[in-house]
Symmetry: C2
Subunit: 226 residues, 2 copies
C-alpha cells in the first residue's frame, strides 16, 4: 500500500522503517524538503540528521506535506502535537478526502521545562480538532500512549501481551488502522469509540511521563485487566 | 487505628466498611450531620440514604468534617473532586498537621452532560492543591484510577494482578498509605514520586470513563507491563 507519513522525527522514521519492511511504499512529508535534507546535526534526542537516516532507508521517498498526503492511500500524522493544528491548517485538505488519517500525536509543551505539560484538556483533543479541520478524512487516533519503538514492535515487550487503543468515527477507517496495527504485531486492540474518545488517550500523556520515571525506561505499556 | 473519612458517598462508605472489617475505628465526616441523617432518598447512583447505610454499619461514627479530621490519625478524602477545594478551605487546618491525608478524589464536571469532563488540567491537580492548602499534612494521592469496589477489594479482579499508584511528598506518609493499601489486598503499588505526579493519575479519568464504556463494566484496572 502507498502510505504517506507527515513528519520526519523519530515517530515518522520508525513507522517508515517498519512499513518498508512490510513491503509498503512510503513517502515522508516535511514542511521544507531542502531544509530537511540540509540538516547536519543530531537532535537533542540523539536522532541523526534526516539525510543520514535516508541513506540507510533509500526506498523511502521524501516530499512536502502535501505531496506525502497526496501519495498515501493511508496517511500517518507523526508530527509533534504542538505543531499539528497549524501545519494541517495550511495543507491542501482535498488530499485527505475519504482517506484514513492515523494520528499518533501528543500535544506536549516543553517551553516550561521538564516534564513537559499537556496542551490539550478534556474537550479539545488533537484527534477531534484534526477531524474538524478535515471533515472528509477518516481520522483514527491510536498508538500515542506508547513509545515509538514499541509502537512498531509490540512483540518486544511481553510477547505483545498489552494493549493499544483506537478512536475514530469511521468503522471502516478503524478496520484499516487495525489491519496495520496487526501487521506490526499488535494482538490486543481496544476500540474506545468515536474520535471524542481521543481525549482519553491524549490525556494519559502526563501519566506516561511519570511512569517513564517510575519504571525507569520508555519500553512499558498498559494492559487492561478486566 | 483511628481513621477519619471526609465524605459520605460510595467511596467513603466503601472504605469505612473495609476499615471496620480490618478492626480500625472509623468516623465519617459530613458537612451537616443533621441534613445527612435526614436524607431519605436513594441517590442517582443507587446508593441508599446514609442513615440506612449507618444502620448496617453501626460501629461507624458520624461527625462533621472537622470532627472526622480531628478523630483520624489518618484521614481519607473521599469527597467528589469538584467540591474538595471549597470544602477544605473551610476546615480547621490544624486538624491535619503532620497527618497522612489520603486523597482519592477526581474532579469531574457533570454539568455539561455525560460523560463528565475533567476540571483539572496539567499543572493543577487536586492533590497538589490540597497539599498547598494544608502544607503541614502529608498528602498522598492514590486509588483514584480505580472504581470504589475494586479500591477496597483488589483481589476480586485477577487475584490482584494489577496496579495502584501513589503520589506524595512525604516518604513516611506514603509508607503509611501503602500499609493500608496492602491490608486491603493490594500487591502491586507503583510510587510515581512527589505530589505533582498526581497530575498523571488525575488526568487518567477521561480514559477511565471511555474504558468503562469499551470494557462494559467498572471492575477493570491497569497493569503496567515493563
Amino acid at each position: 500500500m502507498k502510505i504517506g507519513i507527515i513528519g520526519t522525527g523519530i515517530v515518522g522514521r520508525s513507522h517508515a522503517e517498519k512499513l518498508i519492511s512490510l513491503n509498503h511504499n512510503v513517502m515522508i512529508g516535511t514542511r521544507n524538503v531542502e531544509r530537511t535534507l540540509a540538516e547536519t546535526k543530531t537532535d537533542s534526542m540523539g536522532n541523526v540528521p534526516f539525510s543520514e537516516w535516508l541513506k540507510d532507508n533509500p526506498t523511502v521517498q521524501l516530499g512536502t506535506f502535501d505531496e506525502a498526503a497526496k501519495f498515501g492511500v493511508v496517511v500517518i500524522n507523526a508530527l509533534r502535537g504542538e505543531v499539528v493544528l497549524d501545519a494541517f491548517a495550511n495543507l491542501n485538505k482535498q488530499n485527505f478526502d475519504n482517506k484514513v488519517l492515523i494520528d499518533i500525536s501528543n500535544a506536549l509543551d516543553f517551553s516550561k521545562g521538564m516534564p513537559p505539560t499537556l496542551l490539550v484538556r478534556d474537550g479539545n483533543s488533537i484527534g477531534e480538532q484534526l477531524q474538524g479541520i478535515l471533515p472528509k478524512a477518516k481520522v483514527v487516533k491510536t498508538l500515542n500512549t506508547i513509545t515509538a519503538r514499541l509502537q512498531i514492535n509490540p512483540l518486544e515487550l511481553a510477547n505483545g501481551d498489552h494493549h493499544v487503543f483506537i478512536s475514530g468515527n469511521d468503522t471502516a477507517g478503524k478496520k484499516t488502522a487495525e489491519t496495520i496495527l496487526k501487521s506490526y504485531g499488535w494482538k490486543y486492540i481496544i476500540d474506545l469509540g468515536d474520535i471524542t474518545t481521543a481525549r482519553g488517550t491524549e490525556m494519559m500523556m502526563p501519566m506516561w511521563l511519570r511512569l517513564w520515571g517510575a519504571v525507569g525506561k520508555p519500553m512499558f505499556n498498559y494492559k487492561i485487566i478486566k
